[in-house]
Symmetry: C2
Subunit: 500 residues, 2 copies
């Protein structure tokens, strides 16, 4: 009991301790929940688990908001229990994905920087319960988050009730690395004062009206480790292409050897590409991203990255042990911020980020699909890729040129879903090479993409599509009735090779 | 001569007067020009005309950058003369459009807020000659622009040489209404200090290194009047739907009767919709837009709009006479800014704009095509619509539900080009009604769009597309092989009615 009370330094809140079951019992059918959690880090765990247990004997549904994807099996269990009506703004979980694609659950795929605006303006919500994982509560009643910030601060401010999950297994040295900033209502805002990656502009915890704190529960469940794969040969080649491009930028005087603050999306490929910087000549790097994966800590260890700002830290099991076990050596090089600040379009443009995100497919004009398999089935969601791509100094998308053993070309005549338009994509990279699309008209982009990015087994097929399109003319030549022929051939024949 | 010298108050520049022919003779094959001009306002006129005359006896090509579309026949004459290799970031001229779509000219269709970044970073350029229309040059050597600012300040700062066209016919009372602000290099910037629509943050003229001023020419040619049409019956109905929506926002407490700063795109429909506010109950309005068309001045006259900020003023012939003839009554209610500031994503979000732009077509999930007829032929360009739609408080797109006497449905199963993704579109409006898509999953949006926005003659056809799509499942159900069937039917049969 004493250890628990030590984590609740605000004396007036010490009498709010309850069991997860009791807290979960307050949540009623039709309510909206705001759960902490961003890319499997710092997610609320005890209350969702208790809710899932309640669902064994009771029928109810809730709307679930989060920062981004939830770990610890939460999205999986919520989906299996069938208790989610609507989920936003991101998920990355196979069972939930299946329910979404079967139409059994609604999913609002939203730019990660924008959900806070909707909550603040009352477009979604009201949030009945914010459920926030915390390290502790300070004497003056601030919630100290754990391994992510995400949307937690806006949830707490706008929820009718707050439940705090104090997690005793999360590294206590995280206290002090958070920087909570609330921009205020649109139209009444001051400029966000951040001008450098390591600027502190807010408080180390989330202010909360003590009246709203309905309950405090204790857990000791660790975050789920990330499932990223070690860089494979093709990812390493992609990283090399990207380094070549960056070298050219340095040679032209557009970048210095310190590059510019780096953002890298979630996933194995983006992680591998970042990892490629370790043995490069680039130095004194900074990271301004939404999530810090293994590669960032490898870069810190290698003395390459001097500071990293993000909304969460999501590591593989092994890396988590090392970093969390020795967090004192990292904590003065890190800040965790609300996702509205990490992904803020104004700050992204001000800082001039180099933004690296993963494409599912892109087309000959540089439009990118990051979300929908064959244009219909949701993979994860747009996440922050749109926040970054639109305003970065360099908007880079990476993908292997083929998938499924070559039967799918990741470069297609016309993407089957557009998440990033031709206006927002600067550089596309595959293991074949990179194409720098900046300043190019659509007709200039096509040969570059075909010769540098398309897999050789699909080049001739792409050339003949484009030749036929050219006969039709236009700023952006297409043969509209054949635009999705590769996808249709895949659906019918299991391959995008039209001759098979 | 005296009148001319009075316009050049910087004594050291008084010896730079030349003829347009002489100045134009400095421009060589392969050069890049930065011409002032934004939506037919404040465009460089004398030098482009002289260049076109030179082209009668000489072969050369140049790349032409501008603010946005050029009036005074400049884009038309440049296109006819065949002297443009590449044009960016916007145009809206039939002859030029034809050349672009025939592949005889390259066109880079670019977010209007972003071209300045490319110039500053050296991605495009270098600019050999900036050609800037001016009212005068101040004693300390600042160029006072005329009816637009556009990209003029960034052109001047980064061009190797500057030619100034002092236009004696432009209203001299414009001196003092400009507010020139240079944000500086990415990564070294302070926050842009603007927090209110009427904030002044810069200088009244464009600073210029006198060494770079190669020549000063004089003209007296007026701006081209805008070609917008008077609001027709359907536009008025659309305006009514929009007002209904805004009333609902006020009733729900999300907006006050003063609404929020308004942005309205170029063109007759957006102008008509803005015009609809005149007889409304909304009051004390502010405009933060890229261009001020007739309706804004009608709203000022009606006492509805108290302040308007933009990058240009583009009026019909009649309105131009009235406003420019009596400019003293308007000038303390107006500021003209660089397009990078009017369209800045960070400022758009900070101010919380209500953004109203025109769609060419939109689809059942809310993706918007603003640029490409049948997915291939460029109309004008994305302009600032992406800058605004992505970050506005309310991103609204308007279009009549049909075109060409009903043979084209402006609502389609799948847009043939995506400029604004489903993530960036809040409200769609046709003369049939409006659909509020905020917070809705894709499957929730479809029935709303079909029943409220699609023309009745296309509803059944759309319902049957969607029913078939639903059988395939997915977050965003589609029948990919029929996604463009309406466009293909139009191409083959002259109508999107599949039964005809």
């Amino acid at each position: 009991m004493d250890e628990k009370l030590q984590r609740i330094k605000a004396i007036e809140l010490q009498n709010r301790m309850v069991t997860a079951e009791e807290a979960a019992s307050w949540i009623k059918d039709g309510m909206t929940l705001g759960l902490s959690g961003f890319t499997r880090a710092g997610d609320a765990k005890a209350i969702p688990y208790a809710l899932v247990r309640r669902a064994e004997t009771e029928q109810f549904k809730v709307d679930v908001l989060s920062g981004a994807s939830l770990g610890s099996g939460v999205d999986k269990l919520l989906a299996e229990a069938g208790i989610v009506n609507k989920r936003a703004p991101f998920q990355a979980e196979p069972v939930m994905r299946k329910k979404i694609n079967e139409g059994e659950m609604l999913f609002v795929d939203h730019h990660l920087s924008q959900t806070a605006e909707w909550i603040r303006a009352g477009v979604i919500g009201p949030i009945d319960f914010a459920v926030i994982e915390a390290l502790s509560i300070t004497e003056d009643g601030m919630i100290i988050p754990t391994t992510s910030v995400g949307n937690s601060s806006v949830f707490v401010e706008h929820a009718k009730n707050v439940i705090i999950e104090i997690n005793l297994s999360q590294p206590q040295l995280f206290e002090g690395i958070h920087d909570i900033y609330e921009p205020g209502m649109q139209g009444q805002r001051s400029p966000i004062p951040l001008t450098k990656v390591d600027d502190r502009i807010g408080t180390i915890g989330i202010p909360v009206d003590p009246e709203k704190v309905r309950g405090i529960v204790f857990t000791a469940q660790e975050d789920s480790p990330s499932t990223i794969l070690q860089p494979d040969a093709e990812s390493k080649v992609m990283a090399e292409h990207l380094l070549d491009f960056l070298r050219k930028e340095v040679a032209s005087g557009r970048l210095s050897n310190r590059l510019a603050p780096l953002q890298s999306g979630i996933g194995s490929v983006a992680n591998a590409v970042l990892h490629g910087l370790i043995d490069s000549e680039f130095d004194n790097l900074e990271v301004y991203s939404e999530v810090l994966q293994d590669a960032v800590f490898d870069l810190i260890d290698a003395g390459k990255v001097k500071f990293a700002s993000a909304s969460s830290i999501t590591l593989s099991e092994e890396k988590m042990k090392k970093v969390f076990g020795d967090f004192g050596t990292y904590r003065d090089k890190l800040i965790l911020r609300p996702q509205e600040i990490t992904n803020h379009p104004g700050l992204i443009r001000r800082l001039g980020l180099i933004s690296i995100n993963t494409a599912l497919e892109f087309d000959i004009y540089g439009n990118v699909n990051s979300t929908h398999v064959s244009g219909t089935k949701m993979m994860n969601g747009i996440g922050g890729s749109g926040d970054f791509a639109r305003n970065a100094r360099l908007s880079i998308f990476v993908t292997k040129s083929t998938a499924k053993g070559g039967s799918i070309s990741s470069v297609v005549p016309f993407v089957s879903h557009v998440d990033h338009t031709e206006h927002d994509v600067d550089i596309v990279v595959t293991e074949q090479g990179y194409a720098d699309l900046r300043g190019l008209a659509p007709r200039e982009r096509v040969p570059l993409i075909i010769e540098r990015c398309v897999h050789p087994t699909y080049r001739e097929q792409m050339r003949s599509y484009y030749e036929e399109a050219l006969l039709r003319g236009g700023q952006t030549p297409h043969v509209l009735e054949k635009a999705f022929s590769w996808h249709n051939h895949l659906a019918a024949n299991g391959t995008m090779h039209l001759s098979e």
